[in-house]
């Protein structure tokens, strides 16, 4: 049955697994997979997490997701509204544990680019912008980057523009913070002395070699590389219930 689990569901489960109980967790704009990951975590292993929506509701009752991750319906029955700027204040005080961020490009040190492809003064493609990345990347104890297209165009030798700071662009104090990358092929981390990206686990049906071939820099497998854990049917059903329209699949086209 393991090979029957769809990639988006596997990624949602991998992202949910990065959350521990009692964590304070935030998601941002255009983030259907993080919204699902956080919802799954809260309904399974992390019932006491503080769920802060980018839409500003705290611990809302999320029956289902919508095409926008900031839809006001994601705030239904919130216990409080907590302004996004207040969530950032929380991060500055060191009280935000986990944040989910995207990347149009990511490099071996974990630098992310959400600003521009090409040169900043002569852009080939102007991207929407980094939103929270430049601020939250270095100071959040755990940042989970999701990437639905693991190719050498996304996993590049060096990003065109550093929106979010990788380990070579951080102060010593911020180097202890973790980056985890969840792609459509596997899960990557930076848990080695050089703080470079390595393969932590490979999704069922994929291989270390496939990840290497689709990565634009030399990437090694961690010594304890394994297979990405597969969610139980209960969790797959839960994801289906929260996302009956399959919005999670929209990022894979």
């Amino acid at each position: 049955m393991t090979d029957k689990i769809a990639t988006p569901d596997l990624m949602v489960y991998a992202m949910a697994s990065e959350i521990e109980n009692f964590n304070t967790v935030l998601h941002g704009v255009s983030s259907p997979l993080p919204v699902l990951g956080m919802s799954v975590a809260r309904r399974t292993h992390a019932p006491d997490m503080a769920y802060i929506s980018g839409a500003e509701g705290v611990d809302s009752e999320i029956d289902r997701i919508y095409p926008s991750s900031f839809d006001p319906r994601l705030n239904r029955n919130a216990v409080a509204y907590f302004g996004l700027h207040e969530a950032f204040d929380l991060a500055q005080r060191g009280e935000l544990n986990v944040m989910f961020l995207g990347a149009a490009q990511i490099d071996r040190f974990g630098n992310t680019n959400l600003s521009v492809i090409g040169k900043i003064d002569n852009p080939k493609v102007q991207l929407p912008g980094g939103a929270a990345s430049a601020f939250l990347m270095p100071i959040t104890p755990k940042v989970v980057i999701w990437a639905t297209r693991h190719t050498f165009r996304v996993f590049v030798e060096a990003v065109d523009f550093v929106t979010g700071q990788g380990y070579n662009n951080r102060s010593e104090g911020c180097k202890k913070n973790k980056i985890v990358v969840v792609s459509n092929l596997g899960v990557m981390n930076f848990e080695n002395p050089g703080r470079t990206m390595q393969i932590q686990s490979v999704h069922p049906g994929h291989t270390v070699d496939e990840i290497k071939e689709n990565t634009g820099f030399d990437i090694l497998a961690a010594p304890d590389v394994g297979e990405t854990p597969v969610p139980d049917q209960d969790i797959v059903d839960l994801i289906d219930r929260i996302d009956p329209d399959g919005i999670r699949r929209s990022e894979f086209h």
Binding site: E56, L84, P128
Partner: protein, 303 residues
């Protein structure tokens, strides 16, 4: 009784927004975006505006396509459910419009600094990001107390802040609820504040719940009554997000020609808000209207 500040949309925009103004609009992320006011800016052919916002969704793209914009100060500009937006990309990639890249936090700090009347705010981060290269309003400083290296985020003072709210009285005392983002900071920072309200209510309604006032009327210069003025963005308690509009807009804005057609139908040839709503259509409005009500319990302000 203080004088009424009630204006028509045409009067409020023509009187308080000049060519070259810095205008903050869309300060609650994807919610309560003042689309009706933005469309009026396009109709009046305002030029050389600086747009200030956090996540402005497609309104900034429309203003850019309308030729109104010289500069954008924002954390994220696009079409939230479909990604990049085309007028924005064309304008930046052709070098017609300038972008000052922010993060959500630096944007809110810039407005908070202006609201507090100080030249900058210190932040613990953004250090190491290339935002420093593209945004002259970010500098590093040494904290005089701890010696830490910090980011100084320069104040941004909008000439005009335009917000959309659920209700206000004629003096501009405005009730707002749901997620509000940095709306209060933007209202405190702005030289002029224009309130666009779904409903104009008696002052007694405001007085019954003064904690819900986002900005008191003494800081407001104009109030405009514009039911559905936030469409297609959502307004909690009134209507939901019109996702189809955003998807249609993505297709319509793909080329300058198709955008011109879209703009003619939805902005240039629209006589007033009633005409706009006729174009949206009753069926669509019925679908979007809030049916799932979640009312708050009244608070007793007695003493």
């Amino acid at each position: 009784m203080p004088a009424s500040k009630l204006f028509t949309m045409f009067e409020a925009i023509s009187r308080f927004v000049q060519n070259g103004s810095a205008v903050a609009l869309g300060t609650a992320q994807e919610t309560l975006i003042p689309f009706a006011a933005g469309h009026e800016l396009i109709r009046q052919r305002k030029r050389d505006l600086t747009l200030i916002g956090t996540i402005s969704d497609i309104l900034f793209d429309q203003l850019i396509g309308g030729g109104c914009v010289r500069k954008v100060q924002a954390a994220w500009v696009g079409n939230v459910i479909t990604g990049s937006s085309y007028n924005f990309r064309r304008a930046i990639e052709n070098g017609n419009t300038e972008i000052e890249d922010h993060s959500n936090l630096t944007m809110s700090m810039s407005l908070r600094a202006a609201a507090m009347g100080v030249p900058f705010m210190p932040a613990r981060t953004a250090l190491g990001s290339d935002l420093f290269k593209s945004n002259a309003r970010l500098k590093t400083i040494t904290c005089p107390f701890t010696g830490d290296t910090l980011t100084a985020v320069a104040a941004i003072r909008p000439d005009v802040t335009i917000i959309h709210t659920q209700r206000a009285d004629e003096q501009g005392n405005a009730h707002m609820w749901g997620n509000m983002g940095i709306t209060r900071e933007a209202c405190l920072a702005g030289e002029y504040v224009i309130i666009i309200a779904e409903e104009i209510v008696p002052t007694d309604t405001i007085r019954s719940d003064p904690n819900r006032v986002v900005i008191p009327g003494f800081r407001v210069c104009a109030v405009v009554h514009a039911p559905w003025g936030g469409h297609p963005s959502p307004v909690p308690g009134c209507y939901n997000r019109d996702h189809q509009s955003f998807i249609d807009y993505r297709t319509a804005s793909r080329t300058p020609e198709s955008f011109a057609d879209w703009k003619a139908f939805w902005i240039d040839n629209v006589k007033d808000r009633v005409d706009y709503l006729n174009r949206v259509g009753k069926n669509r409005m019925d679908r979007l209207k809030i049916k799932h009500h979640l009312r708050s319990a009244p608070a007793d302000f007695g003493c």
